[in-house]
């Protein structure tokens, strides 16, 4: 069955104003939830691991997560290199925590790798929240890691840092950076994501 995500969205060059308000990712929900459960499977022992997978488009047009891979508590490297040519859509990753449940959106390097890898769709699962970066016709081709770190720091390392809940500031930074670098940004449940930028 063809994907419920519009072909134009998966093309990576959809005009940013034409992005849909809602992304139906129900075809991937089970796979994403399974990898999230793997990420927190040893939470009782105080151990979590980031998981990643490569998102590919199959011959019938449907989306699938392949090349599941685990990392450590703060880092994972998707095994994108083994993807068949022409089928690569993007990546999926988890952001688990050992000490508490909180949704942590995309990090500095998540933005960088999404751009460097030319990901058309970059998915992230953290504490039952799924976020998505959608590459568009307006997305930049290159990004400076130091520039993006500075932007993050501007949101996070403020004089009133302790008065802020960091995931809120990181989500604000995600919105700012998505706008700046020409991404569509979505947040929602594993089944339905709503457009934020």
């Amino acid at each position: 069955m063809p994907s419920r995500v519009p072909v134009q969205v998966l093309s990576g060059n959809c005009p940013i104003d034409d992005l849909p308000d809602l992304l139906d990712l129900s075809e991937l929900a089970e796979g994403m939830e399974r990898l999230w459960m793997k990420s927190v499977a040893r939470l009782d022992e105080g151990i979590v691991a980031e998981y990643a997978a490569t998102l590919v488009k199959q011959a019938d047009g449907s989306l699938k997560l392949i090349n599941e891979i685990s990392g450590d508590s703060t880092n994972v490297v998707p095994d994108w290199a083994t993807t068949e040519p022409g089928t690569f859509i993007g990546t999926f990753q988890t952001h688990p925590r050992t000490d508490e449940f909180l949704p942590m959106p995309f990090s500095d390097t998540d933005f960088v790798s999404a751009i460097q890898l030319r990901e058309k769709l970059s998915l992230l699962y953290s504490d039952d929240v799924v976020c998505a970066l959608v590459r568009t016709a307006a997305t930049v081709d290159y990004i400076n890691i130091y520039e993006i770190k500075n932007e993050f720091l501007s949101f996070v390392m403020t004089p009133d840092m302790e008065a802020r809940f960091l995931p809120n500031a990181v989500w604000a930074a995600n919105k700012w950076l998505a706008r700046k670098y020409g991404f569509g940004l979505y947040m929602g449940t594993p089944n339905e994501l709503f457009r934020e930028v």
Binding site: A52, P103, M104, S107, D110, F152, S154, E162, W171, A172
Partner: protein, 134 residues
Amino acid sequence: MQNFEKIQYAKDDSWLWALLEEAKKRRAAKGIKEEPPFDREDAQRIYEHYKAKQEQRQMLQPAFLALFEPMDSNGFRAVCPTMENCTVEAPTREEAKAALIGELKQRLQARLRAGKILPTERSSAEMVEVALGE
């Protein structure tokens, strides 16, 4: 090559998690124990605040940028690389700054008189002062 690519494209969130730990440490130091829930409205407020700050910063872009560097002879060199490409040297940083402002004012006034630039709401002298004010 493969390893290099993997490092470059790693989803390495360690820096972000370290920031989270720092924030938590500061909260704990201030006796804040309760973690509020994730709140998109609060995130939107943070976003709007930052956006307003950035817009304000863009409006206050200086007309000139100046670089002050110490010289081997113990003096200071002040360089304005933008627009006028002006360099002066003086024994102290303050004198270098004053000399640079003076030189830029003269050059701007000369260009204004020659009709090479148009007057704005700010006088050339004000533009220089705004740019180099600290």
